[in-house]
């Protein structure tokens, strides 16, 4: 899924999964990364009940925030069986607040074990932020 300004795409990796994401802001980059991660897993959710969750996180850099946020989504997915199709993120000085709205997961094709820091770098390129995220699967 991609637009000119923000999006994600799968990159070939021998053993694991790699996702390239881009967006104008860090908050939007995290949102695209979450959408991409759900798409890689083939996650589908029910129409209802609609459920809301909040996530608050801190990290020492942008990469840390990205890994922590996606890891938290994996945790909620595994322990509560929930995934989110509406994600609002605010980031102030590497403190994140996310308002998540979603529903119970009805189908998952593949399991993501973890979000790695492998060669992870959130960097600016042509006025967009970009990052390549490798998932352990």
């Amino acid at each position: 899924m991609e637009t000119y300004l923000s999006g994600y795409r799968e990159v070939a990796h021998t053993a694991d999964w790699e996702l390239e994401v881009w967006a104008p802001t860090l908050a939007e980059l995290l949102r695209q990364a979450a959408r991409g991660m759900y798409a890689l897993s083939g996650i589908q959710i029910a129409d209802r009940p609609r459920l809301q969750r909040q996530v608050d996180l801190e990290a020492s850099d942008a990469e840390g925030l990205l890994v922590a946020f996606l890891s938290e989504l994996l945790y909620i997915g595994e322990t509560e069986g929930l995934a989110f199709d509406q994600i609002e993120i605010e980031i102030n000085h590497l403190t994140l607040h996310a308002e998540l709205s979603g529903a119970p997961i009805t189908k998952t094709d593949k399991e993501i074990k973890a979000v790695t820091y492998h060669n992870l770098s959130v960097h600016a390129e042509n006025n967009l932020l970009r990052a390549n995220i490798v998932f352990d699967v």
Partner: protein, 483 residues
């Protein structure tokens, strides 16, 4: 980028990247591979990752890479690295997220010929009794106190609960329990993920497979292990589930700041580490051992449930339907061991990621009957292809920190496999070859297609040729259960 010309050929089966290749390397990299296998990995980043691994502080000897190597994240899959204890480092990423992912092999006296017509029923029963799939929960609902006991006691806990025999534990690496586990070093997130998942297989490349012992190469070793030509055997491949994944996630995050505190410079943030004698290193070691013990208990629970499935299908139809433990071994683990380096006994932390411990004959860590023949090494092939049983050698102790390969090793990306292979078509192909398949996800099945992996026979010929393991038996799959 590394080219074959950068490598020094030691023999037909062994190559070296000298320490001088890159300024930040602390030790050389020793690769066990034929030229053909080596050429297959030149396009991915396995060797670059091995060079990065060679920069970890406190390394001794060499970084070793097995012939089933492939690109991972940070540390290559098939890599072995030993750091001096206690001042060297421990790196969670060099052990992996699936802590104590490993393989268990059980032998039977059930003749393939008499079981042939029941294999479909067996696959269905195994699928029923051994929960698999993404986020699947087990039948057991553990309290937090019970989970803490599993962390401390590993497979010993399952013995107390009636899910194991003394023989099962005796024939498990470390007797199924690593000392020094401390569940207080495990996060509430990890515990919440771990509590409902004991006794589950998970998804991805994890499987339960029924094999027939096709060929025996070492009759005496096979006899000691209880492997009979023409009889069925069972392999269980899985690890510590969400419990281990979360523990590694937590400590990789925590160690991002630890490396700054200890002034450690690394070429990849996934290699973050902390000195073994630091509070951070000690905490991770205690948490990692908790996950390792959880995984030993997990495979034991699955073996217990597989025994129920075998009884249901074979009771009254064959003379003896028992599943007898051959061995249970980790291939993602950090262990404190003593090795001879430059003629001196040195205590080290051996990181094995996608590599199997392969101790040679005489090792005091082995049960009596295996001390004569060497430790069983279990090498599952890709789905639909052969698996191997090997034993460790004295040469492996001297040249590879007592380690060997762990499988076939991927050669094709999951994306490419998905494009080239349709899950349902693959299932039909395998069934046509006489392999019964029960899979939770057809997309997941396609990603694990045999063509996505190297030839396991070529991998085994390499470790045998290099004499870091010896062939005992070749197994052929007849039924596979996958999440």
């Amino acid at each position: 980028m590394i080219a074959i010309q950068d490598l020094k050929r030691i023999s037909d089966y062994e190559w070296e990247i000298p320490q001088t290749f890159r300024q930040d390397m602390r030790v050389p990299v020793r690769i066990f591979a034929t030229r053909r296998l080596l050429e297959k990995v030149m396009d991915d980043k396995s060797l670059e990752q091995a060079v990065n691994a060679a920069t970890l502080p406190g390394l001794v000897g060499r970084v070793v890479v097995m012939p089933d190597m492939h690109q991972g994240y940070g540390f290559p899959i098939g890599g072995v690295a030993a750091t001096r204890y206690p001042e060297g480092v421990i790196s969670p990423g060099a052990i992996g997220y699936d802590i104590n992912c490993g393989v268990r092999l059980l032998a039977t006296s059930i003749e393939y010929e008499e079981a042939k017509t029941l294999l479909g029923d067996l696959a269905t029963a195994l699928d029923h009794y051994c929960p698999s799939g993404v986020g699947e929960k087990g039948a057991l609902r553990m309290s937090e106190k019970e989970l803490d006991q599993v962390c401390r006691e590993g497979a010993r806990w399952t013995l107390k609960q009636g899910y194991a025999t003394e023989m099962d534990l005796l024939r498990t690496e470390e007797g199924g329990c690593l000392e020094g586990a401390d569940p207080s070093k495990v996060s509430p997130h990890a515990k919440e993920r771990g509590r409902p998942q004991l006794g589950t297989l998970g998804a991805g490349n994890h499987f339960i497979e029924v094999d027939v012992v096709e060929q025996i190469f070492d009759a005496e070793a096979a006899r000691v292990m209880g492997l009979e030509e023409g009889a069925l055997a069972l392999q269980i491949h899985c690890g510590s589930r969400g419990f281990g994944h979360q523990i590694c996630t937590d400590y990789v995050r925590e160690f991002q700041s630890a490396v700054k505190r200890y002034g450690i410079q690394l070429p990849d943030r996934e290699l973050v580490c902390a000195p073994l004698n630091s509070p951070e290193g000690q905490n991770y070691l205690a948490a990692m051992r908790s996950a390792a013990n959880y995984a030993f208990a997990n495979r034991q629970m699955l073996a217990h449930n597989a025994r129920i499935a075998f009884e249901q299908v074979f009771a009254g139809k064959v003379r003896d339907w028992r599943l007898r433990q051959v061995y249970d071994i980790a291939h993602n683990m950090g262990k404190i061991e003593t090795h001879i380096i430059d003629g001196q006994e040195v205590k080290v932390c051996v990181h094995r990621k996608g590599a199997t411990r392969a101790f040679g004959p005489g090792s005091p860590e082995l049960p009596d009957e295996y001390r004569r023949i060497g430790q069983p090494v279990l090498v599952p092939g890709s789905m639909g292809t052969a698996s191997w049983v090997l034993v460790g050698t004295e040469s492996s102790m001297q040249r590879a920190f007592g380690s060997s390969c762990h499988g076939a090793g991927r050669v094709m990306s999951r994306q490419q496999a998905k494009k080239q292979v349709r899950g349902e078509a693959l299932r039909q192909e395998l069934e046509a070859d006489g392999i019964r398949v029960r899979a939770g996800s057809m997309a997941g099945l396609a990603e694990e297609a045999p063509q996505a992996y190297k030839d396991v026979d070529a991998v085994v010929e390499t470790v045998a040729g290099a004499e870091i393991a010896r062939k005992v038996a070749r197994l052929r799959p007849v039924a596979v259960v996958k999440g």
